[in-house]
C-alpha cells in the first residue's frame, strides 16, 4: 500500500500505525504521529488502520530555542 510518510510516497507492508512504527524500527517513546492532520495517540496506534493515500507525519521533539 502506498502512503505519504513525511511528505514522501512510500510503499509499506503495514496495515496499522503500530505496524508501521515497528516496520520502521522507531522507538515509540519519542514519536508523535499525525494521520491526515489528526494526532493519533499511542494507545490508538494498534487499531488505527492505514489506507492508500493517507498522509502520515512522524514527528518528535528535538532541541530548540
Amino acid at each position: 500500500m502506498e502512503i505519504i510518510v513525511n511528505g514522501t510516497a512510500e510503499t509499506v507492508p503495514a496495515r496499522t500505525i503500530a505496524e508501521l512504527v515497528a516496520y520502521k524500527g522507531l522507538a515509540a517513546g519519542a514519536l508523535v504521529v499525525e494521520l491526515n492532520q489528526r494526532i493519533i495517540k499511542q494507545e490508538q496506534w494498534p487499531q488505527t488502520q492505514l489506507h492508500a493515500g493517507d498522509r502520515l507525519e512522524l514527528l518528535s521533539f528535538v532541541g530548540g530555542g
Binding site: F61, V62, G63, G65
Partner: protein, 258 residues
Amino acid sequence: MTTDDALQLGGVRFTNRLFTGTGKFAANARIPEMLAASGSQMITVALRRIDAQAGQENILEFIPKGVTLLPNTSGARTAEQAVRIARIAREAGCGDFIKIEVITDMKYLMPDNWETLKATEVLAKEGFVVLPYVLPDLPLAKRLENAGAAAVMPLGAPIGTNRGLETRPLIEQLIENCTVPVVVDAGIGRPSQAAAAMEMGADAVLVNTAIATAADPEAMGRAFDLAVRAGRIAYLARLAEESSLARASSPLTGFLDD
C-alpha cells in the same frame, strides 16, 4: 522585598526569571545538569519530522517534571503552520504554553511579526498560553496584547548572535507600555547582558545559545541565574540617576587644612 517576586504566566508561578532552551547542547545529558544549576523553570523544545539517521533519544525525558515546557513553532513560515505545530505540541502532551516563532527570513532569522500576530489571535482563542517571539515594535505589541498574548518576547539581537541588547530602546518602549510581561528572547550572549535586560525592567529573559554552546553549560547556567537575579533586584531597588557631572560621594571639605 523579593520574597514574593514571582512571575505569573499562564497560571504558573515562576520564581526564576531565566527561561532556557534545549537547542545546540553537545548532548541531551547536559540539559538536566544545566536546569539544576540555573534553576530555570521553563525550557523550550522544537518539533520536527523524525530523522531516521539520528538517534532516537526522547528529549522530553531529559527535562525534569516541574519544569514547564515551552514548545516553539520553529520551522513555521506562516501563521497556519505555527497554529498546526502548536496544536500538535499540545496534543502530544506538552501543555498549553507555546512560543510562536514564524520566520521567513533565513539570513537574519527575523521573526515575521505579521504572521506571528495572526497565529496569536487564533491560538489565544483556543486557550493556549501564547508567548510570541517578535521584533520589538510597540504598536504590534499592543495588538498582541489585545489578541490575548500572555507575554511578548522581543529579540535583543538576531538568534544565536550573542550580540546582546541591540534593540534596547525599542524593548524599553515595550517595557514602559505593555501590560503583559516582556521577556527578552534571542541575542543575549553574556550574563551581563541578561542582567542589563533585567535592570531595565524586563520580566524575564530566554537564553539558549549562550548557555548551550558555552564550554561548561552547567556553570554558565548558574552564571545566568545569578545575573538575572542581580538585574531583577537592581530594577526593584530603583537605579540611581546618571549625571553628566561628578557628584562626590565623600564630603568635599578638605581633610586637615580647611
